[in-house]
């Protein structure tokens, strides 16, 4: 094996990891879309996609193929190069932000001393993709969508940042890895110290990612599809990818700052060490679930597919029982589980709550969330410095 020069040696693993993210994440986003459709179908008492693959499991691949081979339409009167570049702005910033999120302490994610700010700044640049895309289409509905999106994002970014500050005051660092380690040292997830900030963050995150009940920028019953009305095929797929990447990013930040990142529940209670077996158990359970009811599958390829899937899950589960693999995997498992629960809640809310009116949206943001978030920061500061304050008051 040739020796690697010392100058580039530290960059190799992050580079490989970045390439893996680039390849795997679009697939993951596709499956989040499938999850959304399945959950929606379940809530509306339907089955959802069932045709492509067993239980529609190959639907994302079919969708991706369809989007890639569609005709690429650029409206004649659009501003061509802005139209061309705006989906790219959205998707590049979103994927870079995904790369910066430490899903486990074993992954080669760069640890910067401004980690959280860096992710926030990337997402704030990503907003430009939405605005410019809506403007460059040179069409009424996209422009309306872009305007709504701008007003909404600018309003809720303030509440979001103040909610984050509440958690950051406890952590005392902006490094994403450092925030998780702070929760390990204090032996508690910050959500228990900062429930108000957590709720504000969650609501603001719904608005930041244009999700229902705050999905005015793409409200299909009012303005067709909002900012991406004129985008078709591959460009639309890029916007879609960026949107789901942003959902994963906000859920990951929530997980890191409030829910203990890759730490298991009660990370300092040694009696719960057996929870490290959870990934293996979950994978084995998934494998078993795939194999139950095999003879009810309608066709032979479907049956074979389910056997293959079940076998793969069981093999992966058995591999997770090996101590070194378990050590490497359980952090990732807990992180993924928490992010998954966040994403599931996003989807659940989308099909439960009706859309707000525009003035209601602004009222919630400016008159409730922002004052509440500022009050939360002040109260946190007072409680954290209570000893000095009591001393100054002469108690």
């Amino acid at each position: 094996m040739p020796t690697i020069p010392a100058a580039i040696e530290p960059f190799i693993w992050p580079f490989v990891y970045g390439a893996v993210i680039l390849l795997v994440f679009p697939l993951l986003a596709g499956y989040i879309v499938l999850l959304e459709r399945k959950v929606m179908a379940d809530i509306q008492v339907r089955l959802g996609p069932m045709r492509v693959g067993p239980h529609g499991l190959l639907q994302p691949l079919a969708d991706a193929l369809k989007l890639l081979i569609k005709e690429d339409i650029i409206p004649t009167l659009s501003d061509k190069w802005i139209f061309w570049i705006s989906p790219i702005i959205s998707v590049v910033t979103a994927l870079v932000a995904v790369f910066l999120i430490p899903m486990s302490d074993k992954l080669p994610v760069p640890d910067t001393n401004i980690g959280l700010l860096l992710v926030l700044s990337l997402t704030s640049v990503g907003i430009l993709g939405i605005i410019l895309g809506g403007w460059s289409s040179n069409s009424n509905y996209p422009l309306l969508g872009a305007l709504r999106s701008t007003a909404q994002l600018v309003s809720y970014e303030i509440a979001l940042s103040f909610a984050l500050i509440g958690g950051l005051m406890l952590a005392g660092t902006l490094s994403l890895q450092g925030i998780v380690m702070a929760q390990k040292e204090q032996a508690i997830w910050f959500v228990f110290f900062q429930p108000v900030a957590f709720v504000i963050y969650f609501i603001a995150a719904l608005a930041e990612t244009n999700r229902a009940p705050f999905d005015m920028p793409e409200a299909e019953s009012e303005i067709v599809a909002g900012y991406h009305t004129e985008f078709s095929g591959f460009r639309f797929a890029l916007y879609f990818l960026a949107e789901y990447a942003n959902i994963v990013i906000v859920c990951s930040i929530m997980t890191i700052l409030f829910l203990g990142g890759w730490l298991r529940p009660f990370p300092n209670v040694a009696a719960l060490e057996f929870l490290n077996f959870a990934p293996a158990l979950v994978l084995l359970g998934l494998g078993g679930a795939c194999l139950i009811g095999l003879d009810r599958k309608p066709s032979k390829p479907q049956k074979l597919g389910m056997i293959g899937l079940g076998g793969a899950f069981i093999l992966a589960g058995l591999a997770c029982l090996l101590p070194p693999v378990m050590e490497a995997v359980h952090g990732l498992f807990w992180f993924m589980l928490k992010v998954f629960m966040g994403v599931y809640t996003f989807i659940w809310i989308r099909f439960t709550l009706p859309r707000y009116r525009y003035d209601q949206l602004m009222n919630i943001g400016w008159r409730w969330l922002i004052p509440l978030a500022i009050a939360n920061v002040i109260v946190t500061g007072i409680v954290m410095q209570r000893e000095q304050i009591f001393a100054a008051l002469g108690f």
């Binding site: 001393n113 401004i114 430009l128 403007w135």
Partner: protein, 171 residues
């Protein structure tokens, strides 16, 4: 190689900033101007990173690109650009321009005349000042508290003024 790389970054970023700045003021379409302005601001954020001022770099992006240019775009989208494009692009303030350019030229000429010891490139600091964010906070909220609060008061006054001006017609 170690010594070449930082100055290479500096020249690349400086070129990006200057070229985008020139393009910003020469575009006829206001939205194009804003995009080039974003490119300029990104270059400046890069220069902050180059100086190991990570916090400033991130804040530069969040405040200027995520906040201010987004508001620029918001306003520009509501303007009829076709009409604006027909207007004269430069305001014709030639006297002021000549005076400013002359002063700048004189400065540059002075430094070139003095030679290499007259000015230094900003060298990257030996390492980041750690802890970066905390040091900035201490400087702002402890060492320079009064100027900081005065500046925020000024901004508040400007904001209230803007609201009053905008509300004037409603009476």
């Amino acid at each position: 190689m170690q010594s070449v790389l930082p100055s290479l970054f500096f020249y690349a970023l400086a070129t990006m900033i200057l070229v985008s700045a020139v393009v910003t003021i020469t575009r006829r379409n206001a939205v194009h101007s804003v995009i080039w302005l974003i490119s300029t601001l990104l270059g400046i954020a890069g220069l902050f990173l180059h100086q190991h001022a990570e916090f400033l770099a991130a804040v530069q992006v969040i405040v200027y690109i995520g906040g201010i240019t987004v508001l620029f775009l918001f306003v520009i989208m509501l303007v009829n650009l076709d009409e604006a494009a027909k207007k004269k692009q430069f305001a014709g303030q030639w006297k002021i321009v000549v005076i400013c350019a002359g002063a700048l030229l004189a400065e540059l000429g002075f430094f070139i005349f003095k030679g290499a010891e007259g000015f230094y490139f900003a060298e990257p600091a030996g390492g980041s000042l750690q802890p970066n964010t905390q040091l900035i906070a201490l400087a702002l909220y402890r060492d320079y508290l009064l100027p900081f609060e005065l500046a925020s008061l000024l901004l508040l006054v400007a904001m209230i003024g803007a609201v009053v001006l905008a509300k004037k017609d409603l009476k």
